[in-house]
């Protein structure tokens, strides 16, 4: 029979973990294999979020970036979220998107920061924050977005919120959508989007 059995896969023997500084140092190693391996191993080392996040801006290999974000997720939102939030302002699309994906995976930590993000002076950050509410419990997201719509003066941010409310909202969102439509009566794209959302929500309610 051409099929062969080889006893080649054994569980690794237990070894004492390397000092975390050694693994952190590997994040800057010229060999991408070493950086990849270090990024993955640090996902099991509580306290490593700062070092992982610090390695992000200088890392050009998308696979290693992804491994760093995965490790930040594994370390948990409480430790990692403070390092991910500033990346929402990054000029690098890969870092912004990586941070959004990572924050989506830590809803409990996100809940502590989302209100602030929705009031950020930067309208792009507010739009990212609106996207992040998609992964939150619908009732919580609805309340946050309705409060935001009542104070938001940037039509693109409102449009992003309308888009999310159309997907997760209920008839409870109708009054704030009505008010937003009245405030932005001159913005044809936004009033159209709100009318569409209200139609959808009323159909869902009946």
């Amino acid at each position: 029979m051409p099929l062969k059995k080889r006893e080649s896969s054994h569980a690794p023997e237990g070894r004492a973990p390397e000092p975390v500084e050694v693994v952190v140092g590997e994040l800057r190693h010229p060999d991408p294999e070493r950086r990849w391996s270090a990024a993955r191993r640090l996902g099991e080392r509580p306290g490593a979020a700062a070092a992982l996040a610090a390695a992000l801006p200088g890392e050009a290999d998308p696979r290693i970036l992804e491994a760093i974000f995965t490790s930040l997720i594994r370390l948990g939102g409480e430790e990692s979220a403070p390092f991910l939030l500033p990346l929402l302002r990054s000029d690098e699309a890969a870092l912004r998107l990586g941070a959004i994906e990572a924050l989506e995976a830590m809803p409990a930590a996100l809940a502590a920061h989302i209100e602030g993000l929705l009031q950020d002076p930067d309208s792009d950050v507010r739009i990212f924050a609106v996207e992040l509410t998609r992964k939150m419990p619908a009732e919580q997201a609805l309340a946050l977005l309705c409060r935001m719509l009542d104070r938001e003066d940037h039509p693109n941010v409102c449009a992003a919120a309308v888009d999310v409310l159309a997907e997760i909202g209920s008839a409870d969102a109708a009054p704030c959508l009505d008010r937003c439509r009245a405030r932005f009566a001159g913005q044809a794209f936004l009033t159209f989007a709100i009318t569409q959302a209200l139609d959808g929500l009323s159909r869902t309610a009946t």
Binding site: P2, L3, K5, R6, A11, P12, D31, E44, E66, T70
Partner: protein, 289 residues
């Protein structure tokens, strides 16, 4: 004080206790059990509480956390789903012989084996199906050494895989000719796979969200990892994808279940659309692993 309702086989536990158990199972396996699975969870919990003679959830949870008498393994075994059959989603096996091996095999040096990993392999139907399919459908099968490894987190399933005894239902997609050539009918109506075939498959324990365990499984040319990622949350999927990526050789292929997509999990792999199946490939030329 918790009790077990003997007639219904359910444990009398609170929502918070179910949540703690689910969190524990998640940390050990990556599997998410949502609220709608509460009945399923409760049945498994009641079985384990009865088996360990635990008089309350607190007593059972202490046993579990201490891993007394390998209770973690017993609990994980009770939570896994092992329902499968031979030649399931065989369009991927067609793809294996018509395309994937035609890409992989010519690059092999003399004596270098073609390595295939079936994970999770459950009770062995998939790795045995791969073996039978290769013997029946790949005309170059005699030219290469082929190593097939089947791995699962569930040690009870692995023991069943090594034993290789199956009901008629598991063989429903095999022709009578194949059954006659690769199985022996037992007195109780079940079928045992021929020892010549079962002896060629290596079975090992592996949890695909545990990098230390997948790290012991390397240099595969093809990985079949079907119908497991759908039970994971986003974080566990990402971790599993990275672990499987490391287990593949550069240029190696991965087959997922037909409802699963690696593209929604990670950008580590290239998508390959072949006539028989969509598979995912670890890019050639990158040095990782």
């Amino acid at each position: 004080m918790n009790r077990i309702d003997i007639q219904r086989g359910l444990a009398d536990v609170t929502d918070e206790e179910v949540r703690r158990l689910c969190e524990f199972v998640y940390r050990k396996t990556g599997m998410i059990f949502a609220e709608e699975k509460r009945y399923y969870i409760n049945r498994r919990l009641a079985e384990r509480m009865a088996a360990t003679e635990s008089t309350s959830f607190q007593v059972y949870f202490a046993t579990l956390r201490a891993d007394a008498d390998n209770e973690i393994e017993h609990l994980i075994n009770s939570f896994t789903v092992n329902e499968t059959y031979f030649y399931r989603e065989d369009h991927q096996f067609r793809c294996l012989t018509s395309t994937l091996l035609e890409v992989i095999a010519p690059k092999k040096r003399a004596g270098e084996p073609v390595r295939i990993w079936s994970v999770p392999c459950s009770t062995g139907e998939e790795p045995y199906s791969i073996a039978i399919w290769l013997l029946e459908n790949w005309d170059k099968v005699d030219r290469y050494e082929i190593e097939i490894v089947g791995s699962d987190i569930d040690t009870t399933a692995l023991r069943a895989a090594e034993t290789g005894i199956y009901s008629e239902r598991a063989l429903m997609r095999l022709s009578q000719d194949l059954i006659a050539r690769y199985f022996t009918r037992l007195d109780d109506g079940r079928y045992r796979i021929l020892p010549d075939l079962s002896d060629t498959i290596q079975f090992t324990r592996a949890n695909i969200v545990d990098a230390a365990q997948t790290g012991a499984h390397r240099n595969f040319d093809v990985i079949f990892c079907r119908n497991i990622l759908m039970y994971f949350d986003d974080t566990s999927r990402r971790l599993a994808a990275e672990n499987l990526y490391e287990s593949l050789r550069p240029g190696g292929f991965m087959c997922l279940g037909h409802t699963e997509s690696m593209s929604r999990i990670t950008s580590l792999f290239d998508v390959c659309r072949f006539s028989d199946a969509i598979v995912y490939r670890r890019p050639l030329g990158d040095p990782h692993g």
